[in-house]
């Protein structure tokens, strides 16, 4: 493989190395990429694309600026979109005067693949971000022993709007209100002895002769170490002691004054935001994350919770960044029950099942979609995801497996032969090859349907984008939806025939001939994932089809089998998504080069899911940050 030759082993943590053990050097790659770009990519783009996608940026694709700075951060998204459109013959449009040959298209796609080598070596900045609602609640739970429901009043985050996270006037005092509650719960009522929590956080009662301000500074230091996830600076301690003083001067006793100090900690941006620790002294523009940042990044990635004592100790000792230590910590954190956050925060969103409890299903068609059933569906998805992870199975098993988790309501939906009673979820061996894996699972099948019917198009897009990581060009504006086809035109036709009608339009055909076969391959599953032989109109379902690579299938089981063979694509998609989640940013530019390198390592042991997580955590992108430029 060409990619294998390019790989720089141990590159991720080597930091300054630009020449690998195999002797491939980045400068040479860059030079070659520049040559390919100048001689091939640029002429293609100028010939076929820029008359529309120049600086006017039609459909948000601006190739003029991408031509100017092809390796720039913002360019990579434009290249990816361009490739997606060219690949499915969606662009240039049918009516354009100049159209590339199939051979030219393939070449273009191949060349653009090299553009990433033009990007400068760059791990990206460490972007500060506010704790999510879940992270915030978990942090309060772990540090102060309160129940996570204490944060229930915070608004839900809108997925994908991570960097917005703005707060309205109405919401702005929530953090203060919650801080109040936390302090209330920690403090003993007047006249009673100290609570255990109080002792742990504030120390024993002030003994005679102790300087209260000195004691307060000591408490401030330990509170802030945990809450800010790093040792506080002197200036930060001054602020907290100031708050203590304010309380004392207003006739609060020592313990009450410490309570106000804790409240100040809890509304401080150092607590609510994951921030870099101070200004690094280095003259370099790229530095290793310090161990405190690394500990936070790791624990919020795998647990959505703050570093525990063991991680904090490793950070204090300055050992955490060592690759073998980091690997050990990944394994340890994943064994802890807090790691279910990885499904709740990542897995559920990735599989798009996160809003299953709120989705509308037509109550007449699907009266069984009760809260209990929806919860059971989510549980199945979670337990399955976690089993793949804890057993370190291959990504292929995510798509095609011979077991799942069910309870009685779910077993009914699946029509299982085995007798499954009660609401408890249990692992069952499946004999029906159409089930098993995320494509035969009711949570995902229901999440990709309309309230009253299936949507082969949504399912097709879901498989391509979420599972295989391909980019599907968006539909052109103002397109009619399926339901708008005149009645006379569609009478007696199956959904497939109706959708194929849709494919007769030039503007639709190119994308739909890729999407639809996959979606129709899953038509035997109705809008909540039940098996059926006939569609809503009573016509027999034909689930046969062909993938773009020419391989054909005739049942959902065969479709799953074909998709499971694409291990490298499945693994790359999962790796990219995990990386993006871990870093809290989109991947661009140089990131692709790093992912290439990770894929070689991950491939060696059959693309196992826990290996993927370990490689993400020990990667250059996870462990370094850019501080200048």
């Amino acid at each position: 493989m060409e990619r294998a030759k390019l790989i720089l082993s141990q590159f991720a943590l080597a930091g300054f190395l630009s020449v690998s053990a195999e002797g491939v050097d980045e400068a040479a790659l860059r030079e070659e990429a520049q040559k390919v770009f100048d001689e091939k990519v640029a002429p293609f783009v100028k010939k076929y694309c820029t008359s529309c996608h120049g600086s006017r940026a039609k459909a948000g694709i601006n190739l003029a600026s991408a031509l100017k700075n092809p390796g720039g951060e913002s360019a990579s998204l434009h290249w990816k979109k361009a490739v997606a459109n060219v690949k499915v013959h969606d662009m240039p449009p049918e009516d354009s005067s100049k159209k590339p040959t199939d051979e030219e298209r393939l070449q273009f796609i191949k060349w653009v693949g090299k553009v990433k080598y033009l990007s400068k070596r760059d791990p990206g900045q460490f972007v500060i971000r506010r704790l999510t609602k879940t992270e915030y609640a978990n942090t309060l739970r772990d540090l102060y022993g309160v129940d996570t429901s204490i944060a229930d009043s915070l608004p839900e985050e809108v997925a994908g709007e991570g960097f917005l996270n703005s707060i309205s006037s109405l919401q702005s005092e929530l953090f203060l209100g919650i801080a109040n509650k936390v302090v209330e719960q920690i403090m003993a009522s007047k006249g009673k002895g100290l609570t255990a929590n109080q002792k742990r956080l504030f120390g024993e009662e002030l003994s005679k002769g102790t300087d209260p301000y000195k004691a307060a500074r000591g408490v401030a230091s330990s509170l802030a170490r945990d809450a800010y996830r790093r040792p506080p600076t002197d200036a930060e301690l001054d602020v907290l002691v100031d708050v203590y003083e304010l309380a004392r001067k207003n006739k609060l006793n020592h313990t009450e004054a410490l309570g106000l100090m804790l409240k100040a900690v809890l509304v401080s941006p150092q607590f609510l935001f994951i921030t870099p620790a101070g200004e690094p002294k280095s003259k370099e523009s790229i530095v290793l994350l310090d161990d405190y940042q690394l500990a936070s990044r790791l624990s919020y990635f795998l647990w959505a919770a703050p570093p525990d004592a063991a991680l904090a100790a490793l950070a204090d000792e300055g050992k955490l960044h060592k690759p073998e230590v980091l690997r050990g910590q990944v394994a340890r954190l994943l064994k802890d029950k807090r790691s279910r956050a990885l499904f709740d925060g990542f897995g559920a969103q990735w599989l798009r099942v996160n809003d299953l409890d709120r989705r509308v299903f037509d109550p007449k068609t699907f009266p069984q979609m009760t809260t209990i059933l929806r919860k059971s569906m989510m549980e199945e998805a979670r337990l399955f995801f976690e089993s793949i992870l804890s057993e370190n199975q291959s990504v292929a098993r995510l798509v095609d497996s011979d077991y799942t988790f069910v309870n009685e309501p779910l077993a009914k939906v699946y029509g299982l032969d085995q007798s499954v009673l009660g609401s408890k979820m249990r692992r069952v061996k499946l004999t029906n090859p159409n089930r098993g894996g995320i494509l035969g699972m009711s949570a995902t099948l229901a999440s990709t349907s309309f309230p009253n019917r299936t949507s082969p198009v949504l399912r097709g897009v879901w498989v391509l984008e979420q599972i295989l990581g391909e980019r599907v060009p968006p539909p052109p504006p103002d397109i009619p939806e399926l339901e708008e086809q005149a009645r006379s035109e569609v009478e007696g036709l199956t959904l497939r025939q109706r959708t194929e009608l849709h494919q007769s339009e030039a503007t639709c055909r190119n994308c739909h001939k890729v999407l639809d076969p996959i979606g129709f391959g899953l038509e035997n599953f109705n809008a909540i994932g039940q098996w059926r032989e006939k569609n809503d109109e009573g016509l027999a379902i034909d689930s046969a089809g062909k993938l773009p690579n020419g391989k054909s299938f005739s049942t959902p089981a065969e479709l799953k089998g074909l998709l499971a063979q694409r291990e490298a694509d499945l693994a790359r998609n999962l790796t990219e998504r995990l990386m993006s989640y871990a870093l809290g940013r989109q991947l661009e530019g140089y990131d692709d080069v790093v992912i290439d390198q990770l894929m070689v390592k991950i491939a060696k042991n059959h693309y196992r899911v826990r290996d993927i997580i370990t490689e993400v955590v020990t990667s250059y992108l996870f462990t370094y940050r850019r501080i200048k430029g």
Binding site: A59, G60, E173, E236, L246, V267
Partner: protein
């Protein structure tokens, strides 16, 4: 305005009735309150996406408007003399973003501007009309503005590469800061008006909180210095919100002071003894969309009635995603709006339009029945209902549907249908802000003039 000594007794009774403990009408100082005999003017915006079925929305003429309104606006008939409709307000031309009609219908609605095309992947548009008003009058109430919506935005799409939050936000505090809307009525009720069942007990603010926050803000300056520009912006957003908490505590303290003065027999409120008591708000138990919309309308009324805020937005529903099972069909709103010649779809869209206007009518009628000062609560408000598209079928924006209700303290002349207005969305917003007394240093968005025809 009558001043009676029994007013503070009455107030206590009101509070008990509504479960209100925190949001007493707020006032700057005793003198200003005594001087201002007129109740404040408030402004509210309520949204429905995807436009209307035009021929079932617009009346043929003035007489039809008052006496035989078309089906979609029929629910307003009893209060039509309190309403004002004007035909001929065009939307922002979206030419450079032709493929993004739905990403832009809500986000251009109160900004009357297009997003910045070169940074479309991020939010960069303009401050919205409601937030301009909040900047001007917000300091006089405990909440500068109120933002409500019926449900979370579940639709994800980057039309024309635009950030998906353009789909779901109409309020922008600054070009880059969309204001999220609250969707849980219980949260709003608790936070605006304290916990139910504890009517007598005023939520006490800790007197030291304000000074504590002040120190935290001071300390954050050091942290800020170590951050990159883009990170500073993020931090500032939080620090701004801490500052607004400080201000809200100040408002509460001032209100407590007011209450103490009243106890001592000093009359201090601008609330008239003959004003209607604050309305009771019931949180619906089921999941009927119309009931959820009504409770949000009730919360708007209560917030205005208690002068908790003077400007609010309410996204009755967001583009795409919403369905209305109570109307007897489960199709999503958007899927029906590209109706072509399909009569069945036209019927469904009209039914959805009618349901939305009916909730607005519910709010307006209720406000018209509440006494305030010399007239009704509605007399002192401007309640605007509308959509960012004229018609969802073809995404037209030449003739946006708007309804105004309320006289805005005498600024608007209601009971009229103006069939031939020439102006745009920015003109309308600019005019409305002028009606509620907000001075502008420049017109809003694409505005070029005032629409004086709507004024009294």
């Amino acid at each position: 305005m009558k001043m009676t000594n029994s007013s503070h007794m009455d107030r206590r009774t009101f509070l008990k009735g509504a479960g209100v403990s925190l949001a007493l009408p707020f006032m700057d100082s005793l003198t200003s309150a005594a001087a201002s005999a007129r109740p404040p003017v408030r402004l509210a915006f309520m949204y429905m996406p995807h436009g209307v079925i035009m021929d079932q929305f617009w009346p043929d003429n003035q007489d039809a408007f008052l006496n035989s309104p078309p089906p979609i606006i029929k629910s307003l008939q009893p209060v039509m003399d309190q309403c004002l409709m004007m035909k001929g307000i065009s939307g922002v031309p979206i030419t450079p973003f032709k493929g993004a009609p739905h990403a832009l219908e809500l986000s251009t609605w109160l900004t009357a501007r297009l997003p910045n095309a070169s940074t479309r992947g991020r939010i960069n548009i303009a401050i919205s009309a409601d937030q301009i008003m909040a900047n001007y009058v917000g300091a006089q109430t405990s909440l500068p503005s109120l933002e409500l919506a019926t449900m979370p935005q579940t639709w994800k799409e980057n039309q024309e590469g635009l950030h998906e939050a353009y789909y779901s936000h109409c309020s922008y505090r600054s070009p880059t800061q969309p204001v999220p809307a609250e969707i849980d009525p219980r949260n709003v009720l608790t936070r605006l008006f304290g916990k139910r069942g504890k009517a007598g007990k005023v939520t006490k603010s800790n007197p030291l909180d304000r000074q504590m926050l002040d120190r935290v803000l001071g300390g954050a300056r050091d942290l800020r210095r170590t951050l990159a520009k883009v990170d500073q912006d993020k931090l500032d957003e939080y620090l701004d919100s801490v500052r607004s908490v400080e201000r809200r505590i100040a408002a509460i303290e001032s209100r407590q002071q007011e209450a103490a003065l009243e106890k001592a027999g000093v009359r201090s409120s601008k609330r008239d003894a003959s004003d209607s008591p604050p309305i009771e708000v019931k949180i619906p138990e089921g999941d009927k969309r119309s009931e959820y919309m009504q409770v949000m309308c009730d919360l708007t009324i209560l917030a205005f009635q208690t002068d908790t805020t003077r400007v609010s937005t309410y996204i009755g529903s967001r583009p795409n995603g919403a369905s209305y099972p109570e109307l007897g069909f489960s199709n999503q709103h958007h899927s029906q709006t590209h109706y072509g010649n399909d009569q069945e779809k036209i019927r469904k869209v009209a039914a959805i339009n009618e349901l939305n206007v009916a909730q607005y009518a519910y709010m307006v009628k209720k406000m018209h029945a509440l006494k305030e000062g010399e007239g009704t609560l509605l007399d002192n408000c401007i309640m605007m209902w509308g959509s960012g598209l004229e018609d969802g079928n073809k995404h037209r924006r030449d003739n946006l549907p708007f309804i105004l209700a309320g006289k805005g303290g005498g600024a608007l002349k209601t009971g009229r249908f103006l069939s031939n207005i020439k102006g745009n969305q920015g003109d309308l917003l600019t005019t409305l802000l002028s009606c509620v007394g907000v001075p502008l240093d420049r017109p809003i968005g694409i505005s070029t003039k005032l629409i004086n025809e709507i004024k009294a």
